[in-house]
């Protein structure tokens, strides 16, 4: 269907946390027939609506979320991102397809099992925070634990730790209405973290925040991910946020995933005109790595001038090359993988290296 990087990449040692296959969510009367009917499922959104009165919010989506990665789902408003992420824990009941968490079929779970999943395995952070206005910060954070039946003293102690972790110490007794937007979202984040879930799901958590606060919060997420290595599924409509946070990005349009890959793949080799248009203004030197920019082949010298790591971004390489005035080597484990020079680096900035064709995918395979 699309360029699914999952297929191109060799299987990782871990099983995926989430494994989604052929997922559909159709809103409207007699929604079940749409995925089954080949003719209906091929219609575009407007025609489908006219013919059946149904909206296909998610259409035939497949992907795996690997352990420890930040998996970003990106798309414009209305492209089905929220519906998709809610289907993962069946906050919205999917219409067709399979969802597995750690190999267990989510759609086959009974109510009790599903509650178990929501209580311990996947916790969500919402765009408008979804805090309980009548509870204090501490009790909001402890809410998930309270639901699980944990005693008051214990859950408050646990919650207090998490509150500190997200940088809200001293505000435990405030009500959400007494906090700024950014602080409220920290509470939302803390509430999700408090139950120590295997996966964190974020639905556009920072879209309602001011730009500066948004940057702080993004850094907070990066920090948390670095410290805890928790798997995250992150929904956003903001490309720069996606590129900043995502290990891999699924780009959605009208309910379909049009491209799935690393930020570099999305920017470097857009799957179609839509994606290309989407990433046109991205500062490429901050996304593309030297692994992609280099001329493969050993430099055949012992010194390896420059000594860049293969996942250093082009912007860093430019600094090195401009400083020394000579091409730099890309080195991994003491072995030289290739060389970048002025011409190669400028090609990346100008976006002309694409014409090079195969250079994009070839080196990746040997890399991982």
């Amino acid at each position: 269907m699309t360029t699914t990087a999952t297929l191109e990449n060799p299987p990782t040692t871990d099983n995926p946390v989430f494994s989604v296959d052929g997922l559909w969510k159709v809103f409207g009367p007699k929604a079940d027939r749409v995925p089954e009917d080949a003719e209906l499922s091929a219609l575009d959104p407007a025609d489908l609506r006219a013919r059946t009165g149904c909206t296909a919010a998610v259409r035939d989506v497949s992907f795996d979320v690997r352990k420890g990665e930040v998996f970003v789902v990106m798309g414009l408003s209305g492209s089905g991102k929220s519906t998709l992420v809610r289907c993962l824990t069946r906050l919205i009941e999917p219409t067709a397809g399979t969802i597995c968490i750690d190999g267990e079929d989510v759609r086959a779970m009974d109510k009790a099992r599903l509650r178990e999943l929501r209580r311990h395995r996947a916790a969500m952070v919402f765009q408008h925070f979804g805090l309980l206005p009548h509870r204090t910060v501490l009790d909001n954070v402890a809410y998930g634990l309270e639901i699980q039946g944990m005693g008051k003293a214990e859950r408050r102690a646990r919650a207090a730790e998490v509150v500190t972790k997200v940088g809200l110490e001293g505000m435990e007794q405030r009500k959400p209405s007494q906090l700024s937007g950014g602080q409220q979202q920290r509470v939302g984040l803390a509430r999700a973290l408090a139950v120590d879930p295997q996966v964190l799901l974020f639905d556009e958590p920072f879209s309602a925040l001011d730009p500066l606060i948004r940057r702080d919060m993004q850094e907070e997420v990066v920090r948390l991910h670095r410290e805890e290595g928790r798997t995250m599924v992150f929904i956003t409509h903001d490309l720069s946020e996606a590129l900043k946070l995502g290990d891999r990005i699924a780009l959605m349009r009208d309910g379909k995933v049009v491209q799935l890959g690393t930020p570099e793949e999305i920017v470097g080799s857009p799957a179609d005109g839509y994606v290309r248009e989407f990433v046109r203004d991205v500062p490429r030197e901050h996304v593309m790595t030297v692994r992609r920019a280099m001329k493969p082949g050993d430099c055949a010298g012992p010194a390896h001038p420059g000594g860049l790591a293969p996942d250093a971004v082009v912007a860093d390489a430019i600094k090195v090359v401009a400083g020394s005035g000579r091409p730099a080597c890309v080195v991994e484990n003491g072995r030289c993988l290739g060389v970048v020079d002025h011409e190669r680096l400028l090609g990346v900035v100008a976006g002309t290296e694409l014409r090079g064709g195969a250079a994009g995918t070839e080196p990746r395979k040997e890399a991982v």
């Binding site: 509650r115 929501r118 916790a123 979804g130 309980l132 009548h134 639901i147 139950v195």
Partner: protein, 645 residues
């Protein structure tokens, strides 16, 4: 109609409306052209044809006889209504005994301390003063009787209302079933609820409590449902995403999120319960209402006032305290409540030890006599023959001869089918064919019940009173909307007036105008005015400031602004005000049967007083039908949420 926007203030919507209105009018004209000659040929015009009435007197009388004969023997009464009735009597009595046992000092302390906890020192002082005033007026015992009845009725109403509200708020199917029922119950005059309960329970405390519950539970149910449905979707989703069970969601999220609406519901239920507990004196509830009722029956304005003032004080205190409980920040600490409770107990025990449980006779103030002297003086000097302005009784007389009589004669002179036609046209123009159908059927039902003439009499009083209400109300509202000073002055007055039970309004009008149809209409005007003024003022004030500004920038005079911008844009609010005015006026006009209003209201009282339930029930049913007609004929597209809300 509701899509009036700032950019194109009038042109489009009215154009559309005219278009549709013309269509409807044409259709009605067509239907009339076919049906009227047929009806005319068959049953002739004039009053409702006798051939089309059904005499319900016999079946109703026999039904009521059967119930009276079987009340003590039939299992349904023995094992269901009997239990209900006993439970009510026992609970009311228990509360009454507790209130008396706490003594006047204990009750006053309790009231004051509760007010202090939920609303602060000022309201605590106000509450104390109010209770002391009740005692001073020699009304301590009736006040406690009314309170006991209220406590039981409010508790039952809250339980019933919350349960119904939960059902409607959590299930869309239940909501669909309950909503129209609750909407309709909301517009029914309190009076209409009295007779059915009397039929089943007989006169007395159980009937009074149950009528009160039936009247006071709907706002609780509506607001509970509203609160549950209005909960922030994302909060509920977040709560669900953490793995809550449905019960946990309800208890930890949905109900707390609906707190504001629940408190508003409690407030409205208490106010309606008070209103009804007072009216229920007509069916045998002892207490303040009964004192007013007895006093009015003998036109003893002084005694009526002595009982009326405690009602007003009770209403204001209850409204303020429950209102503050709704606004206040919750959970002000248990310790405060413990102090409050301890304080009450100490005062109550102290009162008991000092042997001062009953309000001391020496401390009462007899206001009845001076008031009656004042009324006598007024009767002598102000009733008639005052130079230039004329007297109050003259005004009442003129209003009767120049307004009420012609309207009544006119209505009763109309051919019956033309009344139906007018009802249909009005209801359809303003609403849908569904509302029109309901209205016509309800109007026809009045004819079928055989009370066409008295119903039109009631209707004439309603129309006259509504006209006066709207003229006064709109004028006041325009003044209040244009001047902050006027609004500031008006607000506390409206607040007090809107909390007063309907019954109380009868006292001053009887003092001023004597008895008759004009005083009944006057009471109705006074009762409906605050809601009309409030809704209209709000509507005028909420007109989009951008539209106002643009018209001002075009150099419109303030009169032009009012006529061309404010009034058209406030149209929905005006329609709502008319609807509320009509509903509220009807509620009091039928109560006016007690002070010589005659017509349906009188039939109801007469039925109750003479034990002639058939007459009363028919009149009650006709009141319900008239209520339906009037509501549907004026029903704006959007519904109100509560009395003058």
């Amino acid at each position: 109609m509701a899509t009036v926007t700032a950019s194109t203030p009038r042109a489009l919507p009215t154009g559309l409306l005219k278009h549709r209105a013309v269509h409807k009018l044409l259709l009605i004209a067509l239907a009339a052209a076919v049906l009227v000659p047929l009806a005319n040929a068959r049953w002739a015009s004039g009053s409702w044809p006798a051939a089309l009435t059904v005499d319900l007197t016999k079946p109703l009388t026999s039904a009521s006889d059967w119930i009276i004969n079987n009340r003590d023997s039939h299992p349904l009464f023995l094992y269901f209504f009997g239990y209900v009735s006993n439970a009510v009597v026992i609970s009311v009595h228990a509360v009454y005994v507790v209130l008396l046992g706490a003594g006047w000092a204990g009750v006053t302390a309790l009231g004051a301390l509760v007010a202090w906890r939920v609303a602060g020192v000022r309201l605590a002082l106000g509450t104390t003063a109010a209770f002391l005033a009740c005692g001073l007026l020699g009304m301590w015992v009736p006040t406690m009787q009314t309170l006991a009845l209220m406590v039981v009725a409010v508790l039952a109403s809250v339980v019933v209302g919350v349960l119904l509200g939960l059902a409607a708020g959590l299930s869309r199917r239940m909501d669909k079933i309950l909503r129209p029922v609750l909407d309709t119950m909301q517009v029914m005059p309190a009076y209409a609820y009295l007779l059915p309960v009397v039929l089943v329970f007989g006169m007395g405390v159980p009937a009074a409590v149950l009528a009160t519950v039936v009247y006071a539970a709907p706002p609780m149910a509506r607001l509970t449902a509203l609160g549950l449905q209005g909960a922030d979707k994302e909060v509920l989703e977040a709560v669900e995403s953490l793995g809550t069970t449905a019960r946990q969601r309800l208890l930890t999220a949905r109900i707390p999120l609906a707190r504001k609406e629940l408190m508003l519901g409690l407030n409205q239920t208490i106010m309606m319960a008070l209103s009804m507990a007072v009216i229920a004196s007509v069916i045998g509830a002892a207490g303040l209402g009964d004192r007013v009722y007895q006093a009015l029956a003998s036109v003893d304005v002084g005694a009526a006032l002595a009982a009326g003032i405690p009602i007003v004080l009770l209403a204001v205190v209850l409204d303020r305290v429950t209102g503050a409980a709704g606004d206040g920040t919750e959970g002000q600490g248990r310790a405060g409540w413990a102090y409050a409770l301890a304080g009450t107990v100490v005062v109550a025990v102290a009162g008991r030890l000092l042997g001062r449980l009953d309000w001391p006779d020496a401390w009462t103030l007899n206001i009845a006599e001076p008031v009656n002297r004042a009324v006598d003086w007024m009767t002598a000097h102000l009733y008639s023959g005052v130079p230039v302005v004329g007297g109050t009784a003259d005004w009442a007389g003129h209003f009767t001869t120049w307004v009420l009589d012609p309207v009544r004669t006119g209505l009763q002179g109309l051919p019956w089918w033309s009344v139906l036609l007018i009802v249909a046209t009005l209801a359809w123009l303003i609403g849908t064919w569904r509302t029109a159908l309901t209205a016509v059927l309800a109007m026809a039902a009045i004819g079928v019940l055989g009370v066409w003439t008295p119903a039109l009499d009631t209707l004439s009083q309603v129309l006259a009173a509504v006209a006066v209400t709207l003229v006064l109300g709109f004028a006041t509202a325009v003044a209040a909307a244009r001047s902050d000073r006027v609004e500031r002055l008006l607000r506390p007055v409206l607040d007090v007036f809107q909390t007063m039970p309907q019954f109380v309004y009868l006292i001053p009008v009887v003092a001023l105008f004597g008895v008759g149809r004009a005083p009944a209409a006057a009471a109705a005007v006074v009762y409906a005015l605050p809601a009309v003024v409030r809704i209209t003022t709000q509507g005028l004030r909420q007109v989009d400031p951008a539209a106002m500004e643009s018209s001002r920038s075009l150099g419109a005079t303030s009169w032009q602004q009012l006529r061309q911008v404010q009034l058209p844009l406030a149209r929905p609010a005006l329609l709502l005000a008319v609807n509320q005015g009509v509903v509220l006026v009807l509620a009091v006009v039928v109560i006016g049967g007690l002070v010589g209003g005659g017509a349906l209201g009188y039939d109801t009282v007469f039925g109750l007083a003479q034990g002639d339930l058939a007459t009363g029930l028919v009149a009650g049913a006709a009141i319900v039908c008239l209520g339906l007609v009037l509501d549907r004929v004026t029903q704006p597209t959007e519904r109100r949420t509560g009395k003058g809300a």
